[in-house]
């Protein structure tokens, strides 16, 4: 289990910011890159609350398999979702570098926090809005619903994710109500 200290992370981020600030031109928004099955994905860094090592969460009964459970983050109960399983990428195996990215979204006047399990955190990138290219629709649910666009950099393709739809709970809600219905008709 590795614990990525929040302070360290932010210190690291600050360093990058500092370097960038020395150049006068606008570099665009900052994104946090992470690896998931060989691909690099990014999320808006402003929605990232912290990054922490994988620790076994408390299992929620009868939850969909991609909801790994809930963990305690300084008194807050935060659910953890495995993106691999949710979008049927492949079987998850948790290794030393597996981390949980804690994301927060604000909908209306309420903000909600949720963790996603990813293989590893890579780097922080500056991406200008105009450099983001539209992603082709390919029938994969992760792409079609949650991808904001693609970004090419150093011969690598980064996939930009929409945090809001990534953390959407309606599907989980449906799962539960369906399950209750199933139970009600006698499984």
């Amino acid at each position: 289990m590795i614990d990525v200290d929040e302070d360290l992370t932010s210190a690291y981020l600050m360093e990058i910011e500092y370097n960038e600030n020395s150049e006068p031109e606008d570099l665009g928004d900052e994104y946090l890159g992470f690896a998931l099955e060989g691909e690099t994905y990014c999320v808006d860094i402003l929605s990232v609350k912290e990054i922490r090592g994988w620790s076994e969460p408390t299992v929620l009964p009868n939850a969909p398999s991609y909801v790994k459970g809930i963990i305690n983050i300084r008194g807050d109960i935060v659910p953890i979702v495995d993106i691999r399983e949710r979008y049927q990428l492949s079987e998850s195996t948790y290794s030393k570098t597996t981390v949980i990215i804690i994301l927060s979204v604000t909908s209306g006047n309420k903000s909600r926090v949720m963790g996603i399990v990813v293989d590893a955190v890579s780097d922080v990138l500056n991406i200008k809005q105009e450099k983001i290219k539209e992603a082709p629709k390919n029938g994969n649910r992760l792409n079609d619903e949650n991808v904001l666009g693609l970004y090419n950099h150093n011969n690598k393709v980064y996939i930009l994710l929409n945090v809001e739809s990534l953390l959407d709970l309606s599907e989980i809600k449906q799962y539960y109500s369906r399950q209750f219905d199933l139970e009600a008709v006698g499984e």
Binding site: T58, L60, P61, N62, A63, G69, M114, I172, Y176, V185
Partner: protein, 723 residues
């Protein structure tokens, strides 16, 4: 206005609603034959405070309406008018009317004339019946009348104002400098202070005012405008406002208002020393902090009255926090805050003791360290309890609305009912309190509508013509129990059963116990009222009541004896934030079961397990039969222990039903802080929340009621499948 008054609006509304509640309660206690003067005074004070406040904040509608009301009350107070029941009715209607206006103002909605005009007219008509008392009313409060009677004038006027405040003026929360500032905004102001009464420094009382002022104000100003500035202090000073020179013809208006009650002997302290402005500042802060002012009827300013009213008796506290969803502030008794401060002080001491020990620790001090830690634990627990106390309010906040409601409903149904309230000082969490109001209203209405019979029927049945409805609140275990007891007809079981069959809620041949039939009234879409009244009988009541109470983690249960009456018992947790829990282990998971719902825990003896067709197992517990819920199965947990042999049965009870959880092991008991799953996730059936254990792990809290529901739906379907 030099200060932004809107910041005080919320306070004004809260206090006004408090005042209205005081008025309402007072009116209900007022008997027509022997009106209690203290009650009348408290009603009058409340009305006066509302008037003063509304005039300050320019809610003229309220001010004018209350003025009329006050005129009437003043006559009653002076004994010029006898109290009649029609008058009480009208006054109660006025209270309602004011409440409507105030809530509209609070919601920033426009107030229609139709909202208050008819009642205001009725009031005026009542007052004019007795003309000789008019002079008194004018005398008691001339500002508003002046406002109306004064024609608008133009041109420059020179006003000479003599302002001689009583020495206690600053203690009433009034600050002369503010008034001068306001006068300054009206026109050109020259102020001269008379310091002749200021005593020697050693004799000087810091919260007394020894100054008086004479002012000259030049400008196009109406007298009413000047009077408005002094509105809050007229009763606490000698004031004269005179025209010295006027460029246009003005009718001379003169008034002298004198304090009705001199309460200080400091007046005759004698005079010299100069410095005063410093004193004044310190005085001002003092007077705002002051929390227990003397109650001197009619003489002190409204602010003070408001304070003393609330301090006077806890029963007079209001339901305003309940009534308006927008207000989220809470009034806490100063004693509670003090005890909190004491506890924090102790905590700090313990902490520094432990800190010191930590710096130079060796093994010989182990015993003392243990002691210190124990003390820390005790401090923390006390602090926790104390903090919880802040959220606790007496249930009278909710109960107080019922006398009025019962009175109104009795009139409407032509029934006679005595309402008996006991245990109104039982304390309950504020959140629970806010949620329980509506269900209670519904249950009380229900008792009056369906429970209590008309006087004729009652007499025919050999009961007294006046029915009885009791509201009780008391603690039982970790719960608060609220009972609504009536001595009415009780539940007509045949009618309920036939209705339930008609609605398809039960099968025709289903065997139900009497108690089970009674609980049917909580099913959705159920109403046995022959006539649908606007009070109850739309069939949306009882199931909503039950749902709301369940949502609070409580339960509702009805017991009834035909012909003798019914008792509705509501059982609620004391607080929603903390719970005494029993930790249990199933597989590798730890769960928390609310300790209050646990009846007993036993080692399962396999011969006592009865396997019933349909996959349901029942445990024979002495004479009882308890259905077993296998937690590992319901929650899909992987555990090695699937045998009854090595397991423990935790028997829990809710709403009169028992259920046994099959678990692997009982762990410790501890208080847990409930965290909602919904904050970041969604609600899950059977789980009421989560908590964080001492080691930082998260444990889920089982919702006994939800589990029971889960089991019953499952069984029902299994039965259906089997059929």
């Amino acid at each position: 206005m030099s200060i932004d008054l809107s910041q005080f609006h919320q306070v004004f509304f809260e206090e006004s609603f408090d005042g209205l509640d005081i008025m309402e309660q007072g009116l209900l206690n007022l008997s027509t034959d022997q009106p209690d003067s203290e009650t009348i005074n408290s009603i009058f004070r409340a009305a006066h405070s509302i008037k003063g406040g509304s005039a300050t904040f320019h809610f003229t509608v309220v001010a004018e309406f209350t003025h009329v009301l006050e005129t009437l009350l003043d006559e009653v107070r002076n004994g010029d008018r006898a109290v009649t029941s029609q008058m009480i009715d009208l006054l109660l209607k006025s209270v309602d009317c004011l409440r409507t206006i105030l809530s509209k103002l609070q919601a920033k909605k426009p107030v229609n004339k139709s909202d208050y005009k008819p009642i205001e007219d009725e009031l005026t008509a009542l007052i004019e019946n007795e003309t000789n008392s008019d002079s008194i009313s004018l005398d008691s409060d001339p500002e508003l009348n002046d406002k109306k009677s004064m024609p608008s004038k133009a041109g420059e006027t020179i006003w000479q104002i003599e302002f001689i405040p009583e020495s206690y003026i600053v203690r009433t929360g009034n600050e002369p400098i503010r008034m001068f500032r306001e006068l300054e905004s009206l026109g050109e102001l020259t102020v001269e202070a008379n310091t002749s009464k200021v005593p020697y420094l050693e004799e000087l009382e810091e919260d007394s005012c020894y100054l008086s002022w004479s002012m000259t104000l030049v400008g196009d100003i109406e007298k009413s405008a000047i009077e408005e500035v002094f509105e809050w202090v007229v009763e606490d000073c000698q004031l004269s406002i005179e025209i010295v020179e006027s460029k246009s013809a003005t009718e001379e208006n003169e008034r002298k208002a004198e304090s009705s009650k001199p309460n200080q002997s400091e007046d005759n302290v004698h005079a010299d020393s100069k410095n005063s402005s410093e004193t004044k500042i310190s005085v001002d802060t003092k007077s705002t902090i002051k929390t227990a002012p003397k109650l001197s009827a009619g003489s002190s300013a409204s602010v003070e009255k408001q304070l003393s009213n609330t301090a006077e008796s806890s029963e007079e506290k209001s339901t305003s926090t309940v009534a308006s969803a927008t207000s989220s502030s809470i009034r806490v008794g100063i004693d509670k805050v003090d005890s909190l401060i004491n506890l924090v002080g102790e905590l700090v001491i313990t902490q520094s003791m432990l800190g010191q020990m930590g710096e130079e620790f060796d093994i010989t001090k182990l015993e003392r360290l243990k002691e210190g830690l124990m003390q820390l634990e005790q401090n923390t627990r006390e602090l926790q309890e104390s903090v919880m106390q802040i959220r606790m309010l007496p249930i009278s906040f909710v109960f107080n609305r019922f006398p009025r409601m019962v009175r109104d409903l009795c009139g409407r149904f032509d029934k006679k009912v005595d309402l008996i309230i006991t245990g109104e000082n039982t304390e309950l969490d504020k959140t629970v309190m806010e949620q329980i109001g509506d269900p209670l209203v519904h249950l009380v209405r229900n008792s009056l509508d369906h429970g209590i019979e008309t006087p004729e029927i009652r007499e025919a049945a050999g009961k007294s013509a006046t029915g009885k409805v009791e509201l009780n609140a008391f603690h039982q275990g970790g719960n608060i129990v609220i009972e609504i007891v009536d001595d009415g007809a009780g539940i007509n079981r045949e009618k309920v059963l036939s209705k339930a069959i008609e609605r398809g809620l039960v099968q025709e041949n289903q065997e139900l116990s009497e108690a089970e039939i009674d609980q049917l009234i909580f099913e959705p879409g159920f109403s046995t009222a022959d006539v649908v009244s606007d009070v109850s009988g739309r069939g949306v009541g009882m199931d909503v009541v039950k749902k709301n109470i369940n949502a609070l983690g409580g339960s509702v249960y009805v017991e009834s004896t035909p012909g003798v009456g019914s008792t509705f018992s509501i059982r609620l947790p004391l607080t929603l934030a903390i719970l005494d829990g029993q930790l249990i282990r199933v597989g590798s998971q730890t769960y928390v079961v609310p300790l209050t719902s646990i009846v007993e825990s036993i080692q399962i003896k396999s011969p006592d397990v009865l396997k019933i067709a349909g996959g349901l197992d029942i445990y024979k517990l002495r004479d009882d039969h308890v259905p077993i819920l296998k937690l590992y199965d319901t929650f899909n947990i992987d555990t090695k222990n699937k045998d009854y042999h090595n397991s423990i049965l935790v028997v829990v009870e809710t709403g009169g039903k028992k259920i046994g959880f099959m678990v692997d092991e009982l762990l410790s008991q501890q208080q847990v802080v409930i965290k909602s799953l919904e904050t970041n996730f969604i609600a899950i059936e059977g789980i009421s929340g989560a908590t964080i254990l001492g080691d930082g792990r998260v444990a889920l809290i089982l919702d006994v009621l939800g589990m029971l529901k889960r089991l019953s739906t499952k069984n029902k379907n299994q039965r259906e499948r089997a059929a």
